[in-house]
Symmetry: C2
Subunit: 471 residues, 2 copies
């Protein structure tokens, strides 16, 4: 015990999975031995995100006791960071009073995030245990569609009236700050909540007390609408280096704000989803080491099946042509299919990420097409020439493969060039078309395009070879 | 002119590439006709990030005039957002006085970012034109290695002494805030700069003026060291939802802070780099639509060449076995190679991203191996059974392919299963090994593993088929 104590004393953060296991097993021992004082001391030095990770390692039977040990503020912050299953189990074990206590510590947007993951009877309990004003705010946010700016915003921001001066603003902040998600960007509106300008806490702290807000507020603000796409809004916050973005309704009245930390989470989540989709995996939010073997299998097997069965198309083409053409050509099939797939993959990943980052949209279709056509011709020409030289010098002269002649080399090289050009153009254009008709560009991006390009490259190969070898 | 005017009037942000072209061409007309008043009015409503994009569309010959038209603060902010080439050209056209003016408006960490992209003679000029204290701070940051926390930090933070009360802190902020990157998280140190705790502006605005800082400061802060990896630090900021992270030197003295917006840029940059590497592209920072055809070609062609030439290995294996085995087996080569590649890709992308997000490290090697082995067996079994059934039912019974019998079906199915298991394990373990020996896991992730798995799957296929068909 003494030894472990030395490890956990004055611990401020958990830096890797080994330390997590060690600290969690120490905590479990404390819970087993009812050594609550020591455990409380340990966790009170830790960050909420780390305590939430400990809950995953500690057996469920201890969760309620462990949670009740946490200092109030840390308990609320830890609750937000937990996985939905743990949250749900804890809520079920809470008394109504405990639930109200926790909810009163949470920001509205965090409560909404939790509600979105809970079954109906728990949502009811949460709404019942919230204060009346919180309940109204929660319902406001809940009514916006899942991927909208409205569903991402919080209603807890600091609002000043146009008629206030700096002193009045500071007094107002002192009164309301405790319940606001951020006080660093504040909003000036008229009596009907129409946004007029933005004031930062920095300005409030450095300007004269008698200065009118309207004289110092920034009127060149950018606002988004409740219905705007949350990913686009997240990228705007990042692009313009904002700490928060005001959200207005259809009548341009301020209804909420989106803070940078929530925008960062959207950006990260979305790029991890793209990584998963491009690798033919159904996206999940569970970190790899925590995901069960079964859940990993479930997220991977459907795509492997689909791609495997769709590769039947390539096999069928191969069967059809095999009988017609010289056997030596089969040797180059993996190279042509592979290079075509890589070429198409380069184009599709680039364009898909540009779509995700809101850098490219459907109206850029022709620009994208023209760019990839030229890149494709340049790549295709170089690889075609290299392949021609390689087949002639290595396969024919060096390895003395008697079935290979200059016609075969030309066939292979030309097929490769055409395949690369086609793969580049298809790879770049398909994600844009997918986006246009409401499909997910990332799903089109890598594996599906590879399958398509595989089939296409075989077709090209056999058309070119029939033309050249039978000429 | 009237018409364009209607478009640009009261414009606060540029939302897509078409609008950018329109606004830029309007600006170009203004510059051509020396209609500076109107142009100044237009840009003064815009955000710096948008004005920086206009510089890309407007001919270089107008850059100096256009830049001189911008209001001072906007000019500095725009300058930071520009591409290195544009910055360089502008610096060369600046007088010494203009350069000093701009530099005095910039935060130290932004100046360092610019310096890192400039040739030596411009760096000299920048250092010469900076104030003495700025120069010292710039040199401090420049001496840290490129990927360290030290190189990402800024030295412009608000520091309080332990002996101060809230009133003294507020007075201090009022005096120094204008030059500080953030005033929202402030740092309490002793006289030797040893960090003691953290105070937020929210606390300063809501606590009594006579409260001592030591009584309200948060002592459970987390600090990083100057030599720590900047990506890991960025993920810590995100994990713990911090707005800024203190950076200390080897003697635990506070030397700087890293702000959330800079951490977000690191996270984004790093994941875009991973996307590029996994698609076999050399990463660049230029957005797709702005990249020239030549630069796209340059970032793609070396990898296509390497991968194409390395696929020669697969062809050679195919050549060696082709003469020995029944021709019908060749039909299943694309399917086995493709499915193996997809299986390995799933594992490698998952593990590589987990490494990038600091979720998995080398010490987890065995845990990763064991997890993927089980996922591999489960995926391999399902796909093997499906393939056996498909070959027997579709290829043999339905399509009446006379060369196919139950031995062929067994060969194909068993080869597929073994290939999938091997691909999963290799795909997961290789990025960890790469990381361990200092190579880039992302480069190992997708295309290189595909090439490896291609060769491996052929070997497995022919070993299995020799064993079964000659038994």
């Amino acid at each position: 015990m003494e030894e472990i104590n030395a490890v956990t004393e004055n611990l401020h953060s958990i830096t890797d999975s080994d330390m997590l296991l060690e600290v969690s097993s120490f905590a479990e021992d404390c819970l087993k031995n009812k050594n609550y004082r020591e455990l409380r001391e340990l966790v009170s030095n830790l960050q909420a995100a780390d305590v939430a990770e400990m809950f995953i390692e500690i057996p469920e039977s201890y969760h309620t006791v462990f949670f009740r040990l946490l200092p109030k503020e840390l308990a609320a912050e830890t609750f937000i960071e937990m996985e939905a299953d743990t949250q749900r189990m804890l809520i079920e074990s809470f008394t109504d009073l405990e639930l109200s206590d926790i909810l009163s510590e949470l920001y509205i947007d965090d409560t909404v995030d939790i509600i979105e993951e809970m079954p109906a009877f728990i949502v009811k309990r949460i709404l019942k245990s919230s204060s009346e004003s919180d309940r109204a705010a929660i319902n406001t946010i809940l009514k916006y569609p899942k991927n909208s700016a409205g569903s991402l915003m919080t209603t807890e921001y600091v609002r000043f009236l146009e008629t206030m001066d700096v002193e009045a603003a500071l007094t107002h902040i002192r009164r309301v700050a405790i319940d606001k998600e951020t006080i660093y960007t504040c909003y000036v509106t008229d009596r009907d909540r129409h946004l007029r300008g933005i004031i930062t806490a920095k300005q409030l702290l450095t300007e004269e007390l008698s200065t009118m807000l309207v004289d110092i507020m920034d009127e060149n603000y950018i606002a988004v609408h409740t219905g705007d796409d949350r990913e686009e809004v997240a990228h705007l916050l990042n692009k313009y280096d904002f700490m928060a973005m005001p959200v207005v309704d259809s009548e341009e009245r301020l209804v909420g704000i989106i803070t940078l930390d929530d925008a960062v989470d959207v950006i990260k989540e979305e790029s991890e989803e793209d990584f998963a989709k491009m690798a033919a995996i159904t996206p999940t939010e569970t970190p790899y080491l925590r995901a069960s073997v079964l859940s990993l299998w479930k997220s991977r097997i459907p795509w492997l099946l689909i791609l495997m069965l769709s590769s039947t198309v390539s096999s069928t083409i191969l069967t059809g042509f095999e009988s017609v053409l010289p056997a030596v050509l089969v040797l180059f099939v993996p190279m042509i299919m592979g290079t075509g797939g890589n070429s198409g993959g380069q184009a599709s990943v680039t364009v898909t990420r540009s779509i995700s980052l809101s850098e490219v949209e459907f109206s850029d279709l022709f620009r994208v097409f023209w760019k990839e056509l030229r890149v494709g011709v340049m790549c295709g020409a170089v690889l075609g020439i290299v392949t021609y030289a390689k087949v002639m010098l290595v396969d024919m002269l060096l390895l003395q493969n008697g079935d290979i002649n200059s016609q075969v080399a030309l066939t292979v090289a030309l097929s490769l060039t055409v395949t690369i050009i086609a793969a580049k153009v298809i790879g770049a254009v398909l994600p844009l078309l997918a986006k246009r008709i409401g499909l997910d560009p990332a799903v089109m991006a890598s594996p599906l395009i590879t399958t398509l390009v595989d089939a296409l490259s075989l077709l090209v190969y056999f058309l070119v070879s029939s033309a050249i070898l039978t000429a």
